[in-house]
């Protein structure tokens, strides 16, 4: 086998698989989005973006991502640093921390609903402690802040571990000698984190952030379980167009809008966290 051809031959099965199950459906969806039956049109996009709920769903989705992702990043970094320092029990702690990863997002939403709803744990605890006289319904339109907080908590609980595992692997790749050199040359533990860990972790941070941000724009089941329709998000609207309004053209347009946002953020993350040539480990 020609050595120059071999790599391409080896990736051929994956390429075919992706073409068949990703590229082809993607083209179909695009076709649906850009047509209403007769020829090319932007009508579907006009329809979904001019709907009064669109700015609200857009704002909610971005707001949630902006509130959740930085907290998750900070938590994941903290947890990864802690795990990395552990001598014993490292794997056990890592397994426990990654348990939420094995739970579907709808199940996660339901778990947190069981905490926050009127007959939930939180209410039992509060009335048990005498903070409230009788169980209150927290997740209503009168308490948008609590609804948002509940969704945030559920998301943080559910999806921090995906960043954690990527960052743990990344931190493990940084040679110990760099930390020792930094220590000898006067860097405090905090400075070592800022000046050694963070910059050398850029490739892993890129991967973790891209993955997490894209997932944040696709949030759906957790929001549906905890807020019903109180906190509309982009993915929820897409679902409504497809299955409630049976308008697959509009749903396809929504899907493409979410894709465009994801691509835009991916490019920003790649750019901001890029590693100059020659500056890799």
């Amino acid at each position: 086998m020609n050595a120059r051809l071999l790599p391409y031959v080896l990736i051929l099965p994956v390429t075919l698989f992706l073409c068949l199950f990703f590229l082809y459906p993607f083209l179909l969806v695009s076709k649906q989005a850009f047509s209403t039956g007769a020829g090319f049109t932007l009508d579907n996009f006009r329809e979904v973006t001019s709907y009064w709920k669109f700015p609200i769903t857009m704002r909610n989705t971005l707001l949630l991502a902006a509130a959740v992702v930085p907290i998750q990043l900070a938590l994941a970094l903290l947890m990864a640093t802690m795990v990395n320092r552990m001598q014993k029990g490292r794997d056990l702690v890592l397994y426990v921390w990654t348990i939420p990863l094995g739970i579907s997002d709808l199940a996660a939403g339901i778990i947190w609903l069981a905490i926050f709803e009127q007959s939930g744990f939180l209410n039992s605890m509060m009335s048990g402690l005498g903070i409230v006289d009788k169980p209150v319904n927290l997740l209503t339109f009168q308490n948008p802040g609590i609804v948002f907080l509940a969704i945030m908590l559920a998301e943080i609980w559910r999806a921090t571990a995906i960043m954690l595992v990527i960052l743990v692997a990344g931190i493990g790749l940084i040679p110990k000698e760099y930390y020792e050199a930094a220590e000898v040359f006067g860097a405090s533990p905090w400075k070592r984190f800022l000046r050694i860990t963070l910059p050398l972790l850029r490739p892993s941070l890129q991967t973790a952030l891209i993955l997490r941000v894209i997932l944040a724009f696709e949030i759906f089941a957790v929001v549906a379980a905890l807020s019903g329709t109180l906190f509309p998000v982009l993915m929820g609207e897409t679902y409504a167009y497809q299955f409630d309004l049976l308008n697959s053209g509009a749903a396809a347009a929504m899907a493409l809008i979410i894709l465009a946002i994801s691509i835009a953020f991916t490019l920003i993350i790649l750019r901001v966290l890029r590693v100059p040539k020659g500056a890799t480990i």
Binding site: E177, A181, A182, V184, F185, G186, A187, R202, V275, K277
Partner: protein, 346 residues
């Protein structure tokens, strides 16, 4: 002034005793080489001095001040790591200036000191590059420059040249020696390479299995090894050993030849360096086995009463394998070791 005093330092890793009771005093501005085979504890001792490792017992003082409980940065030291540890995400400039930035020196002072040390190490044209764009030799220079820029009292180096090819190593050896001598710092230099140790050190401290066997000037270590280990470790080829049996007061029988030696009741080992043998009419009878012309010399591996024995002779001698030689040891270069304690007997 940075005299270093190491008192009764020992280190255990679990049940493994890596260092036993190390005592060493290093004078201000002295260049001391810790020499020993891989695994003998050189790096561990250096890291204890640096503060990257804590001794199980014992004391370390630098400049008359106990430093055992001080962080590395408060010990007035700088270090050159074996794999350089040049930060890949920083330019050469920022690498050299790393320690200065941590001390929060003003920008122009950082710039001045970085440029000066870069010039000293001949890397001033590389300041904007990243370490991925440097050769091994250049990276090594950056690591040394980073340490020198700190203007430390003590500079610690862990096999800094071991990753370079032979030619570059020889070149850097001389350069490093010159730069360090000019910088007036105390230096501790770890190596397993005896040539490096001999050529650079003011004093060599030979380590073996977690102990310092001998600490003396290079020529003293070479001429008067304190123990059999040192005699066999230093010199290429190393010293020759032959069993010696007492033959009257101060007389010893070595391979059938009677020689003058120390007064001692029991059997000893006779030792002589290969280059301290001369062909003569009277001496040890040797049968040449392998003859290696090395240009300036002839290295002859021969057999003396069943023991392997090497001699370095002048290259205009003509010797063939199988030839019978008579080799006379130079009397003032003969050494004797006690086979029980392995120590030298005077």
């Amino acid at each position: 002034m940075a005299q270093i005093e190491i008192k009764n330092v020992a280190k255990r890793f679990g049940s493994y005793q890596a260092l036993h009771d190390i005592n060493l005093t290093i004078q201000d501005q002295e260049f001391v080489v810790l020499l020993g085979a891989s695994g003998c504890g050189k790096t561990t001792l250096l890291r204890i001095i640096a503060g990257l490792e804590t001794a199980t017992t014992g004391e370390v003082s630098i400049g008359g001040r106990r430093v055992d409980h001080l962080a590395p940065k408060d010990r007035g030291i700088a270090m050159v790591f074996q794999n350089y540890a040049v930060f890949p995400h920083l330019t050469v400039f920022e690498n050299i200036g790393f320690g200065l930035r941590m001390q929060k020196l003003p920008n122009d002072e950082v710039k001045r000191r970085v440029e000066r040390t870069a010039e000293l190490m001949h890397i001033e044209q590389l300041l904007k590059r990243y370490s991925g764009e440097l050769s091994g030799g250049q990276r090594q220079r950056v690591a040394v420059a980073r340490a020198l820029a700190m203007e430390p009292d003590v500079i610690l180096m862990d096999e800094p040249l071991s990753n370079l090819d032979a030619l570059l190593r020889m070149e850097m050896r001389a350069e490093l020696k010159g730069v360090l001598a000019a910088s007036n710092t105390t230096a501790i230099y770890v190596t397993h390479d005896q040539v490096e140790a001999m050529s650079m050190a003011d004093r060599i401290s030979v380590m073996h299995q977690g102990e310092i066997v001998q600490a003396a000037s290079p020529i003293e270590v070479y001429r008067n090894p304190a123990a059999e280990f040192v005699a066999g470790f230093i010199g290429n080829p190393p010293m020759n050993f032959l069993p010696a049996t007492p033959a009257g007061d101060g007389k010893w029988s070595v391979a059938g030849q009677v020689m003058d030696g120390p007064s001692s009741g029991k059997s000893l080992k006779f030792a002589i360096r290969p280059e301290d043998m001369r062909p003569a009419d009277e001496g040890l009878t040797a049968t040449a086995r392998v003859v290696e012309p090395l240009g300036a010399h002839l290295l002859i591996t021969c057999e003396v009463q069943g023991s392997m024995f090497r001699a370095v002779l002048d290259s205009d001698m003509s010797v063939k394998p199988g030839d019978q030689l008579t080799l006379a040891p130079q009397p003032d270069r003969m050494r004797w070791f006690d086979p029980d304690t392995t120590l030298a007997v005077a």
